[in-house]
């Protein structure tokens, strides 16, 4: 009998405690909602709308700014491709910092989606003898050329195959995207990427408030949290509205070209037809959408 009494009171205490805990967390229902949010691709349109509303509220609270979060899907009949003129790039790195500003990349710890490699003209494209930390007085330095590398948005990406939770996938317009609310941060995709295009938020990302870009896309440049992977998305928030990526627009020598592969009048199709393009590490069969060519 005594045993039964103790058992009953034990159960009562446990249920009281758990109810108390739940009501304490009741104030954070939104956080619970966000925690139990499913993979973006499995959500209905209504669920996406709710999530975006919550996100905009969260950002307003955190950064004291009005954010416009878009979940705009891919446009029809569009497949993006990019071409970079190796004969023109002077290594000024303006693209790197334009990208940082446009895409809300963390300043400390520093994240750069674009890495510009300085290579020797005599060696040609040779990663083992390249330098990403070049810092001469003036560029281009004699005897050297420059190769910017970012996500190649491969047609057969290896990063999307290895993700254990399907947090990263290729959209119909060719952009490889990441659902930052689903990524568990295992970094397998970073090990798989042959171009070093993926970057991890090792610490809580910091962006100065006055430099925040509030025009964001859910799968692109919205503010990230620590513990998730991020990478170039061809400025998905811009290109799905018809604009060029920031790096294309800022390049002072016009080395960067972007367009729709399915449009026969686009710059990209012209380049493929009239210039000779190459891709990096073609033996890995990643089939990148990012071409390099020589305009002069």
């Amino acid at each position: 009998m005594k045993q039964n009494k103790t058992r009953r009171s034990f159960l009562k205490n446990i249920s009281l405690a758990s109810m108390a805990a739940l009501t304490a967390t009741g104030c954070n229902m939104k956080e619970l909602d966000e925690f139990f949010q499913r993979n973006f691709r499995t959500l209905s349109d209504k669920e996406k709308e709710d999530i975006i509303k919550n996100l905009e509220q969260k950002y307003k609270q955190k950064y004291n700014k009005e954010f416009q979060v878009s979940a705009q899907p891919a446009m029809e009949q569009v497949e993006f491709a990019y071409a970079l003129d190796l004969s023109r790039c002077v290594g000024c790195r303006k693209c790197v910092y334009a990208c940082v500003d446009e895409n809300n990349q963390s300043r400390a710890p520093q994240i750069h989606w674009i890495q510009v490699l300085q290579m020797e003209k005599e060696k040609g494209i040779d990663f083992a003898h390249s330098d990403v930390h070049y810092n001469p007085e003036k560029v281009p330095e004699k005897g050297h050329f420059y190769l910017p590398v970012a996500c190649q948005q491969c047609r057969t990406p290896q990063c999307t195959t290895v993700c254990p939770v399907k947090a990263t996938w290729q959209e119909p317009d060719g952009i490889v995207v990441i659902d930052y609310n689903w990524c568990i941060g295992c970094r397998y995709c970073m090990a798989a990427c042959p171009y070093g295009a993926r970057h991890f938020n090792w610490g809580e990302p910091e962006v100065p408030e006055e430099e925040l870009n509030t025009d964001v896309h859910y799968l692109g440049n919205r503010p990230r949290i620590k513990g998730v992977v991020e990478k170039c998305t061809f400025c998905i928030q811009r290109v799905r509205k018809g604009k060029y990526p920031s790096c294309v627009e800022i390049c002072p020598v016009g080395a960067r070209k972007f367009g729709n592969l399915l449009d026969p009048e686009s710059e990209i199709r012209y380049i493929l037809e009239n210039k000779r393009v190459l891709v990096l590490k073609e033996e890995l069969n990643t089939q990148p959408r990012f071409y390099y060519f020589f305009g002069v």
Binding site: H129, D131, V165, K166, A191, N201, W202, G227
Partner: protein, 416 residues
């Protein structure tokens, strides 16, 4: 209810012991607490407290995970010769092997949890509630295999101990079937972990066909080393009977796998050094350093030296049969494989990185503390499990030992 009494009985066992036992527990607990505070730092600030960065995105934690998978696999692979050579204490070997495997797998899972950026999101990996990327992602396979392996081993060892505790006959058929399944599963979990690395053409250092065979060979070199030492200890302090011949046979088998491992390594070295492509850079960094970066050269050479000495000690029958040199060899090969899996496998895969840049990695204090926490908790668990197993298997600890007390208690309670 019976199971709860079994657990109760087990808990009673681990709370009592000699002074040496308490000292060992105290040491492990202090280490675990020290480690836990380090891990708390990591939970607070993120993985930036480690020395992993974009260039070297997997390091100490994943290295330890890989090593422990090898231990988990090898513990069970020992069951194969036990069957073939018809060793008398086959049941005991199975039990202790499985206990080691269970602890190793739990430590593996712990290392994964501390390594990922958002551990609370682990449920994303599950099927149905999450979106498991099966069959494309090797990590999904690894997760699935490890869990299955843990469940299988836990089931068998708990069932065996439970039956002995209750003086009931165990379900021989079920146990035999599950143990037989666990052998290819042991090979499976280590192969799948090897495939995790093998699957990445971006990393030429790992993209060699020999990687999975090398993994298995090194696992079979190092795992039985623990068991050799454990069996000698058990032989001294309990009624565990295992002939010298059996221990020497284990050592002989380890020699075969050491030789195979040596041969595989020479094959790899020949291919890279003779072909002299840029893929050679990774092996060069490992063995000779590149330019001024020579950080892991001492580790790789000490691993090679220790491994070679262990090979020679085990190869020569005189030193193999001498228990002093045998144990030295066991410790040496264990350490050699630990250094090799932890550092000599992971770091050169990332150095130089895919864009040719070199980032010099050495584990940070946080990583060492977190690893210490996991190892000490794992050792603690293993100590407890072995103590329970020893009592039940060798010292005839049975339900009768605690049920007497229970009957006494019942008599004392007032009836209503």
């Amino acid at each position: 209810m019976n199971f709860i009494r079994f657990i109760n009985g087990s808990i009673k066992l681990i709370l009592k012991g000699s002074n040496a036992y308490y000292a060992w527990l105290f040491f492990l607990i202090v280490l675990a607490v020290w480690g836990a505070f380090g891990y708390a730092d990591q939970l607070n600030e993120g993985l930036i407290t480690t020395n992993m960065r974009d260039s070297v995105s997997w390091a100490f934690y994943i290295g330890n995970f890989t090593f422990l998978v090898g231990i988990a696999a090898a513990a069970i692979m020992l069951v194969i010769p036990a069957y073939i050579y018809n060793w008398k204490p086959i049941k005991e070997i199975v039990i202790f092997g499985e206990l080691l495997a269970v602890c190793a797998v739990i430590m593996c899972i712990a290392f994964i949890v501390v390594d990922i950026g958002n551990p609370l999101r682990f449920w994303h990996m599950l099927p149905l509630v999450g979106t498991m990327n099966f069959p494309y992602s090797m990590l999904s396979w690894d997760f699935f295999f490890l869990l299955a392996y843990l469940i299988i081993n836990l089931t068998v060892v708990t069932h065996l101990l439970y039956c002995i505790f209750y003086k009931k006959p165990y379900n021989k058929k079920m146990v035999q079937i599950i143990v037989l399944i666990s052998i290819p599963m042991a090979v499976g979990i280590h192969t799948v972990t090897a495939f995790l690395y093998n699957a990445l053409p971006a990393r030429p250092f790992w993209n060699s066909a020999l990687l999975a065979p090398r993994f298995l060979a090194s696992a079979f070199c190092s795992g039985p080393a623990i068991l050799i030492i454990l069996f000698q200890i058990l032989r001294k302090i309990t009624k565990f009977e295992i002939q010298d011949k059996a221990i020497w046979t284990i050592a002989e088998l380890m020699v075969y796998s050491m030789f195979i491992y040596l041969f595989f390594t020479i094959a790899e070295l020949f291919k890279e050094f003779y072909s002299g492509t840029e893929h050679l850079l990774y092996w060069k960094y490992l063995l000779f350093g590149i330019g001024d970066s020579k950080e892991i050269v001492p580790y790789s050479w000490s691993s090679i030296t220790m491994g070679f000495i262990a090979f020679v000690l085990f190869l020569i029958p005189k030193t193999r049969k001498n228990f002093v040199t045998l144990n030295i060899g066991a410790v040496l090969i264990y350490t050699s494989v630990y250094v090799e899996k932890g550092i000599a496998l992971i770091i050169p895969g990332f150095t130089p990185d895919v864009l040719g840049q070199i980032y010099v990695y050495t584990p940070s204090m946080t990583e060492i503390r977190t690893a210490a926490m996991i190892f000490s908790l794992g050792f603690l668990l293993f100590t407890f499990l072995v103590k329970i197993a020893i009592a039940i298997v060798f010292e005839n600890y049975r339900i009768s030992d605690i049920s007497k007390k229970e009957k006494h208690l019942m008599r004392e309670m007032p009836t209503t």
